[in-house]
């Protein structure tokens, strides 16, 4: 995954956060008590975690650690 693809995925989730489709409705109640708008954002939060896993997996800034470790004055 390139940095551009990662940025696009973040942008897509940013847009999906603005969920106009559940704006004025409370029903259905998911599990019998969660208004759909609240459930959507809870699911959105889980989707964010999945995206973060992808970002950590594919665009992790690995170059930072070896470079800093080489010059680190701090003992492990």
């Amino acid at each position: 995954m390139s940095a551009i693809a990662a940025a696009c995925l973040v942008a897509v989730l940013y847009v999906l956060h603005q969920d106009v489709w559940f704006w004025d409705t409370a029903r259905p109640f998911v599990f019998g008590f969660l208004p759909i708008g609240l459930f959507y954002h809870a699911a959105f939060t889980v989707a964010c975690s999945v995206l973060m896993w992808l970002l950590v997996r594919y665009i992790w800034p690995a170059h930072l650690e070896p470079a800093s470790e080489q010059r680190a004055p701090f003992p492990e």
Partner: protein
């Protein structure tokens, strides 16, 4: 008094942890005191970094806001944060960590001074950052006072509760430094995740299941809006996505990024951060909403009556302020527990809420670190008096800043949510362009940084002036402050000020970014030297 006794036992435990950490530390070593020797492991790093953000705001403030505004609270703060905070930790936090390791930085201002080759401009940034952090500490004092007053049944008054919590936090930060703070934060986060779940289930059972409560709210015209976002404009909702930008700009979060032993410790933190947010905010928001159905709890019934009375346009300003205090929902979670949980569980849950409230420790320690490094050490104090005096200075600063926050907390009338979003969050979001420019834009200059910083300070002062000078309108109304071309540019709302229907954070952040770009372009001759730019940008340095 059983709940109060359990809470006091918890406070004593937190204090002991700080003193225990004090014994484990190298007591004259500034890096050990302020950064735990950059040695935190992955579990403590995740729990403490999350814990440092899980404050009175996310527990009491979230449920209080949801009590008055409904489910929108989760979308406003939690789900937007679930996207933006981990991304900023991944892109900015990891780079701060690497720079800290490489150059020995202990505060963001040290990095700014190095990156833009400036001295006094760094001091200006410190002053603005420090001033903006104080509101965050104030909300912790307010939360502490509210919690102790509630769990003691009013025997411990608000002012004394705030004072006790301030003293305990001051105590373990004073002794334990970053190590003590991290351990206490990790314990607090674990406790809250476990017992918060239990609270949710117990309150559900006490209310006869949440389905009936939600159904009753949906069926009543006066409460149905709490389950939708029909009273919130889309622009207002969108503007809240700017607020989480503040997190990485908070000095206590930036400083926490420096404490990880290895860069790899960020991995789990980035991935699990949204899940932790979900685990804390979803129950807080949901319980805040269903509290509107808990009319058999007398204090909640009184709040609902005060809210109904507030809607009257005939009220004068003093009566409205008095009713706002009664109607404020910052303590609704505690009232639900008091109403539906057995005493022993209420006691433990009260201690857990207290745990979240006490997360101001990181902010207090950050202020102390910033003062000793960015002012005391920078202006020669460390070279002249040594590290031992530097650590003592940091401890004295902790006492002073806690006292200042306590005195202000006794006088501020706004709810926790409002204090946080209007001042601390908005201000730090507007400072986020500094970090982005320093780490990713070679052409940025110290004058661009100064312009952004000064703009942020002026904008926060302007928002404060509007809120202080113009009385709060009734709920749902907005009073025009400045109109032009037939449109209301600035309005005063019950929650604060609005600009073109957005929170002030939107124009504050956009203008701050524009100023950074424009002023940096105009002062190209002040760009950092090639040596400095090479350290930051060449050969994959960042």
């Amino acid at each position: 008094m059983i709940p109060a006794a359990v809470v006091f036992a918890y406070l004593a435990t937190a204090l002991y942890l700080g003193i225990f950490a004090f014994r484990r530390s190298r007591q004259s070593d500034a890096e050990d005191y302020f950064l735990a020797g950059r040695s935190l492991g992955p579990a403590v790093f995740l729990l403490s970094l999350f814990g440092t953000n899980m404050t009175a705001f996310s527990i009491l403030g979230a449920s209080g806001h949801a009590f008055a505004n409904g489910i929108v609270t989760f979308g406003l703060m939690a789900s937007a944060s679930a996207l933006i905070i981990p991304v900023s930790l991944l892109t900015i936090g990891t780079r701060l960590w690497a720079l800290g390791r490489r150059n020995g930085f202990m505060t963001p201002v040290q990095m700014f001074r190095d990156r833009w080759e400036c001295g006094h401009i760094g001091t200006v940034i410190f002053v603005v950052q420090a001033a903006l952090l104080v509101p965050y500490i104030i909300i912790a004092v307010k939360g502490g006072g509210t919690t102790l007053e509630a769990v003691s049944g009013g025997i411990v008054p608000y002012w004394l509760g705030g004072a006790i919590v301030s003293l305990v936090v001051m105590g373990y930060v004073f002794f334990g430094g970053m190590r003590g703070t991290a351990w206490v934060n990790a314990m607090q986060t674990s406790l809250f995740l476990v017992f918060g779940t239990i609270a949710f289930l117990v309150i559900a059972a006490g209310m006869g299941g949440f389905s009936a409560a939600i159904q009753s709210l949906a069926d009543s015209p006066s409460t149905a809006y709490l389950l939708t976002r029909e009273r919130i404009s889309m622009l207002y909702f969108f503007s809240y996505t700017f607020i989480p930008l503040s997190t990485i700009a908070f000095p206590h979060v930036g400083i926490f990024c420096l404490t990880a032993r290895r860069l790899g410790h960020f991995r789990k933190t980035v991935v699990l951060y949204p899940i932790c947010l979900l685990a804390i905010w979803l129950p807080s928001v949901f319980l805040g909403v269903v509290a509107n159905a808990a009319r058999e709890v007398p204090i909640i019934e009184a709040k609902l009556a005060a809210r109904a009375e507030l809607a009257s346009p005939a009220l004068d300003s003093a009566a409205r302020d008095r009713l706002r205090v009664v109607a404020a929902g910052d303590d609704v979670i505690l009232r639900l527990m008091e109403g539906y949980a057995p005493t022993w569980l209420f006691a433990i849950l009260g201690a857990c809420v207290m745990a979240a409230v006490m997360a101001s420790d990181s902010q207090i320690l950050a202020l102390s670190t910033m003062f000793t490094e960015d002012v005391f050490a920078f202006y020669g104090g460390k070279a002249r008096f040594g590290q031992t005096v530097q650590v003592i200075t940091g401890r004295v600063f902790i006492v002073v800043i806690t006292l200042v926050a306590y005195v202000i907390a006794l006088r501020v009338p706004q709810t926790i949510f409002e204090v946080a979003t209007q001042y601390a969050f908005a201000g730090y979001s507007a400072l986020a362009p500094l970090l982005v420019a320093a780490l990713f834009w070679k052409q940025s200059t110290k004058w661009g940084a100064l312009a952004s910083t000064m703009w942020t300070a002026i904008a926060v002062l302007a928002v404060a002036a509007i809120q202080q000078s113009i009385p709060s309108p009734p709920p749902g109304a907005a009073a025009p402050v400045w109109s032009a071309f037939g449109a209301d540019i600035i309005t005063r709302t019950p929650a604060g000020a609005m600009v073109l229907g957005c929170l002030p954070v939107v124009p504050m952040t956009i203008v701050s970014a524009l100023l950074m770009v424009i002023v940096s372009r105009l002062t190209a001759e002040a760009r950092a030297s090639q040596d400095t730019l090479a350290r930051y940008f060449q050969g994959g340095a960042l």
